[in-house]
Symmetry: C2
Subunit: 212 residues, 2 copies
DNA sequence: TGTATTCGATACACCGATGTATCGAAAGGG
DNA sequence: CCCTTTCGATACATCGGTGTATCGAATACA
């Protein structure tokens, strides 16, 4: 059978070279997507940036969409792990300001990631399958936050307006998204961090407490 | 001089026909952008949807980007006016739940608009000039909210954590953006409205007050 | 109504990007 | 070390979209 690109079924031998090129293609894609936006990038640009020809691309992916999806999955996993780690620290009593600080550092670390993630959002908004992947990622983040808040119940009080721990976690993610939008426009990372800290503090601590 | 498309200088006569075609092109563009995303739309698709040929397009715009920009400006003005109107109602004493209800209805009315607006965000994130336009729109919304809160000072208390009226307005916009993101993924308008109301209430009323 | 001007349809030339087929080179198994 | 399998570079055919030039039709103004 002279089919030259058997992508449908897994090849029997899995080469070391293959995983390396795949990784380099994904890295290059991340850079190029961040710089120009998914909608304005050609397959060839990514291959050039990675130091390959288009043959390498078609040997590893069927379409640009497929590469984009794989790229998002990889990076989202890393972020989720980082957030979980940032929340795992200190004991059962939740030190809200400290935890907020750590999470904020992780979430607003890399503007390029926010750019790519927003491209992916736009993409997902028109494709239910892709949307599912993004919703999964958000759910993972939310659960990490909710778990942490749940462990802290009894030690630290939440404002009553938010209701349960789950709503509070939802609110944290929403605040993150809101600050992200502003950051993408003014590119002021430090301002965004300060602002996200303030927002999260306002959401997670009782309003009757005085700030600062 | 046989230049056939004098777009640089304003034509001496301004035809009625021209404004009609321009409007129809913008309307069609809105529909097509919402359905497929800015990055996946060709000039020809828009002309087809509007019932024109590409000649009409090039007679009115120089590039797709230019049309997109004009489209955003038009619609953003409408939204800003609607929000201002929703906030203008009832007297100096601010009825937070009622105002929140009205604003929420306006802001989360049209999912297509949210889709296009997010496309525009992604676009603006890579072009400072475009970003300025979007920041202007956001500033207009913020000011409308801040004005309203300012008029209500003394009558209604804000939670201390948010600080001044301006921070509170900032928080309102951030909450809007956050809820928008979720809505684009799950397409559940009613859930988004309920959730935005809850978030805004949590942000704008003192946490010591009990809800509902 | 006549006429100068503007508007938009059509046709054409032109990339740029895509996907496939082919083949030499690299890599792993024996 | 040989030989089989896989990987990725190159070449090719093709297609869709772009931008411009041209020209008839529509429109405003006198």
């Amino acid at each position: 059978m002279p089919m030259s690109m058997p992508l449908g079924d897994t090849p029997r031998r899995v080469t070391r070279r293959r995983v390396a090129t795949r990784a380099r293609l994904l890295d290059a894609a991340f850079t190029v997507f961040a710089a120009k936006g998914f909608g304005r990038v050609s397959i060839e640009e990514i291959c050039d940036a990675a130091g390959y020809s288009r043959g390498a691309f078609y040997s590893n992916f069927a379409t640009l969409d497929e590469l984009f999806f794989a790229l998002y999955q990889d990076r989202a996993d890393v972020i989720a792990a980082q957030v979980a780690e940032a929340l795992a620290q200190d004991g059962p009593g939740l030190d809200v300001p400290a935890a907020v600080d750590r999470v904020t550092e992780v979430l607003l670390l890399d503007v390029d990631w926010l750019l790519v993630k927003t491209d992916f959002l736009v993409h997902a908004a028109r494709d239910p399958d892709v949307a599912r992947a993004l919703l999964d990622h958000r759910a993972r983040l939310r659960e990490a936050v909710a778990d942490r808040l749940f462990r802290a119940r009894g030690h630290t009080e939440l404002p009553a307006v938010l209701g349960d721990v789950d709503s509070a976690a939802h609110a944290v993610v929403a605040a993150y998204d809101g600050v992200t939008t502003q950051l993408l426009l003014d590119k002021d990372v430090e301002a965004a961090r300060a602002w996200l800290k303030q927002l999260l503090t306002a959401l997670l601590t009782d309003g009757s407490r005085t700030p600062v």
